[in-house]
Each structure stands twice: as structure tokens, then as C-alpha cells.
């Protein structure tokens, strides 16, 4: 299904994206703090990925566009990142 509409970002959306970006910055900061400590880096990564999935669910809930397909999309992208990071960190 497809329809056309002008999309404008609401203040809520901007704040939510900003929140995601700030959380991402914090995640990268923790990765740097735990340099060389792979288990801690993996835990931080897992927490950030979990946050990203929850962020997606809450964002779409507020946006009234929450759908199983959308939740799965966030889970799959997050899961893919988690598997790849696990492989690199060898934990």
C-alpha cells in the first residue's frame, strides 16, 4: 500500500532522534572506556542494541505506526549488529 503525503518532523520526533544520537554517543564513550575489555564491551553493546529496539517500539507507538513487521525490522537489524559484534569480540 502506498500513498503520498508531505512529511514534517515534529518536535517529539526530533527529540527522540536526538535521544538516540546521545545514547549512541554514550555507547561509543563506554566502548572507549572499556578498551581491551571485550566482555564489558559486549555487555555495553548488547544494552545499546536493546535500547535501540525499545526506542523503535516506543517511537512507533507514539507515532501510531506500530506493527509487528516494524518491531521485527528493529529486532533483526539489532540482532544482526549483535551477532557481528559478538563475532569480533569473541566472547
Amino acid at each position: 500500500m502506498m500513498y503520498k503525503r508531505e512529511h514534517r518532523y515534529t518536535t517529539h520526533e526530533v527529540i527522540e532522534y536526538l535521544l538516540l544520537a546521545i545514547s549512541g554517543g554514550a555507547f561509543l564513550l563506554f566502548l572507549s572506556i572499556f578498551k581491551g575489555q571485550h566482555m564489558k564491551q559486549f555487555i555495553v553493546s548488547a544494552l545499546f542494541i536493546l535500547y535501540y529496539i525499545l526506542w523503535g517500539i516506543i517511537h512507533h507507538m507514539r507515532d501510531q505506526t506500530l506493527h509487528l513487521k516494524v518491531v521485527l525490522e528493529y529486532i533483526l537489524i539489532g540482532g544482526l549488529a549483535l551477532i557481528l559484534l559478538q563475532m569480533l569480540l569473541s566472547v
Binding site: 500500500m1 502506498m2 500513498y3 503520498k4 503525503r5 508531505e6 512529511h7 532522534y17 538516540l20 544520537a21 549512541g24 555507547f27 561509543l28 566502548l31 572507549s32 578498551k35 581491551g36 575489555q37 571485550h38 566482555m39 564491551q41 553493546s45 545499546f48 535501540y52 526506542w55 523503535g56 517511537h59 512507533h60 505506526t65 506493527h67 513487521k69 516494524v70 521485527l72 525490522e73 528493529y74 533483526l76 537489524i77 539489532g78 540482532g79 544482526l80 549488529a81 551477532i83 557481528l84 559484534l85 559478538q86 563475532m87 569480533l88 569480540l89 569473541s90
Partner: protein
């Protein structure tokens, strides 16, 4: 050729054919990517368990080459590889893993890096030590050392003319890691002062009389004693729980599992990011609104993960 282009278009560009969402972002395609990533992770973990020696891309050959590159760029002479210094480095790495510490001096009794050097049979005039752990690539190790003024000072110190390395995998504080020990030295020629430098702790004990610290002059008996010590060290090494070590520069690693996993991770993440960008641009241009995840959020997330991947290749130095 047309078929390939059509496939790429289907994968990345939203159109009627893929229900106005890039196929690369469909649930079935993402599930397929997860399956591929799982297979890759399984293969990589199997390889790492089977050949612990190549758990990272850190090789003595590369470390030696990069260290000398730094020296030549500063107009200094290159360092020669010394087996005794390499043995000292190996013993130091093993000692840190056996006694579970990460420092220039052994915390229990304050054993200094120089003790490992003299125990190996190397009679030094100048000596220094750099340590690193948790790195994935040799370049990263030398780069991190060069970014630290104290470590860089060791690498480009004109007094040194020899170096030895050890790269050792083991468990430190309950975590599997790769340790790198770099020992510098200049052999004692005459009754010169002894200078030792362990970086980061900023130790530079200068001008101590050689008579107090240098080993006795070489004689047939002391040479024999030295060889015995070396033999014991090797025996202890093999009876320990250390999985691998490298002390020789002539490592020919053709297939490196970490390099492969790092590259493939980056490729997968970059392809997915590219698909998201193309899908976003085309969807915006055509004003397509779909029931799907937010491309901006996915893009932001993937960029953060890519930066994270680059960070985790770095380790610690002291």
C-alpha cells in the same frame, strides 16, 4: 549485466516490484542476513578455538616492521631483532598471565622488567619496555604507542639498537586477551651506566653504576648458567596454560581469521547502511510513506555500530 543491475535495483531502490521498500530491508532478507552472520560467527569461533595462535592479526613481523618505520621516519637507525630480548618479552608476558596482572612491575614483589631482561641473558646498557593488550591489528598497537608521548619516546629513543617482541594469548582477569610485550635494549659494551625505561609509569632510572646492576662479566660458566636458565624458561612456558606465543619475526600468516571477520562485518554493515540511504532518498523524492521502521533511526544506529566496530579493534597500552 542487466540482470545484476536489476537485482541491485530490487535490493536497494523502492519500487512497485518490492512493494515500495528496498528488498534489502524486508524481513525475509534481513532474516537471511542474520543466518549468514550466524554461520560466519560459528565458523570464526570454531577457527579461533582450533587455532588460537591466529586469534588476532598481531604478528611480530608487522610490529617489528612498523616500529622500524617509525624510527626511520625520524631519521634514526633501525633496530635489530634480538632473540634474548624476545625471550625476556615472552617471559614477561607469561608472568603477567600466570600471576594475573597488567603492569610493568609485578605487584606481589615489585619484580622489574629489567629482571626479565637480565634473566634472559641480555646484558643491557639501556633497556625499555612497552606493553599492549586487547588490540586486533599490529598497526593499531604501534599507532597507539606512537600517540602516547612516553611510549613513542621509547620507540624513537636513539640509544636503543635492539628490540624483541612477544605476542601471547591467554586469560587475564577472566578474559581471553592478546598481550604484546616490546622490550628494547642496547647491549652493555663497557663499564657504562645503565638506563632503563618502562613507559607510562614514567620510570627512567638514570646513571646507576654498572657495577651495582650489571650481571657478572661473561665466562664459560656464566654462559652455561645462562643457557640453563633459558632452557628452564622454555620448559616452564610449555607446561603453562598459555595457548600460543610468537617471538620470531618470520610469521607468514596467509589466512587471518580476525582480518576476515573484521572486513566482512564492515562490508555487511556498510551495504545495509547504503541500502537504507538509497531507500530513504528515493522514498523522500517520491513521497512514499510506508509501514516500516524509520530509515533515519536505522542509519544512525548503523553508523554508531560501525564507529563502535572501529573502536573495539583498539586495546590498552601501558
Amino acid at each position: 549485466m542487466n540482470k545484476i543491475l536489476s537485482l541491485l535495483h530490487h535490493l536497494a531502490v523502492p519500487s512497485e516490484r518490492n512493494n515500495f521498500r528496498a528488498k534489502g530491508l524486508h524481513i525475509d532478507f534481513l532474516t537471511g542476513m542474520i543466518a549468514v552472520a550466524l554461520l560466519m560467527a560459528f565458523f570464526v569461533n570454531q577457527q579461533k578455538t582450533a587455532i588460537l595462535g591466529y586469534a588476532t592479526d598481531i604478528t611480530i613481523e608487522k610490529l617489528f616492521e612498523k616500529t622500524n618505520e617509525q624510527r626511520t621516519s625520524k631519521g634514526l637507525s633501525t633496530l635489530k631483532y634480538n632473540d634474548l630480548l624476545a625471550r625476556a618479552a615472552q617471559n614477561k608476558a607469561q608472568d603477567m598471565l600466570s600471576n594475573n596482572y597488567w603492569a610493568h612491575y609485578r605487584p606481589s614483589d615489585g619484580k622489574a622488567p629489567w629482571s626479565f631482561i637480565t634473566e634472559s641473558g641480555y646484558k643491557y646498557e639501556y633497556a625499555g619496555e612497552n606493553l599492549a593488550q586487547g588490540f586486533m591489528f599490529s598497526d593499531g598497537v604501534v599507532q597507539a604507542w606512537m600517540q602516547s608521548p612516553t611510549h613513542a619516546a621509547n620507540i624513537v629513543r636513539p640509544e636503543y639498537n635492539e628490540v624483541g617482541f612477544a605476542v601471547m594469548n591467554g586469560v587475564l582477569n577472566g578474559e581471553e586477551i592478546t598481550l604484546v610485550v616490546q622490550m628494547f635494549g642496547k647491549e652493555l659494551s663497557q663499564a657504562n651506566p645503565i638506563v632503563r625505561t618502562a613507559q607510562a609509569e614514567e620510570i627512567n632510572e638514570k646513571l646507576k653504576p654498572a657495577s651495582k646492576l650489571s650481571p657478572p662479566p661473561p665466562s664459560p660458566s656464566s654462559m652455561q648458567e645462562k643457557n640453563d636458565l633459558a632452557e628452564k624458561t622454555i620448559q616452564n612456558y610449555y607446561s603453562g596454560n598459555i595457548a600460543i606465543n610468537q617471538t620470531k619475526p618470520a610469521q607468514n600468516v596467509i589466512f587471518n581469521i580476525d582480518k576476515v571477520s573484521f572486513s566482512s562485518t564492515l562490508v555487511i554493515l556498510l551495504i545495509l547502511t547504503l541500502i537504507i540511504v538509497i531507500d530513504f532518498i528515493v522514498a523522500r523524492r517520491l513521497n512514499i510513506i510506508r509501514i516500516s521502521g524509520k530509515n533515519i533511526a536505522h542509519f544512525l544506529f548503523l553508523v554508531i555500530i560501525i564507529v563502535g566496530v572501529l573502536i573495539i579493534t583498539k586495546g590498552l597500552i601501558i
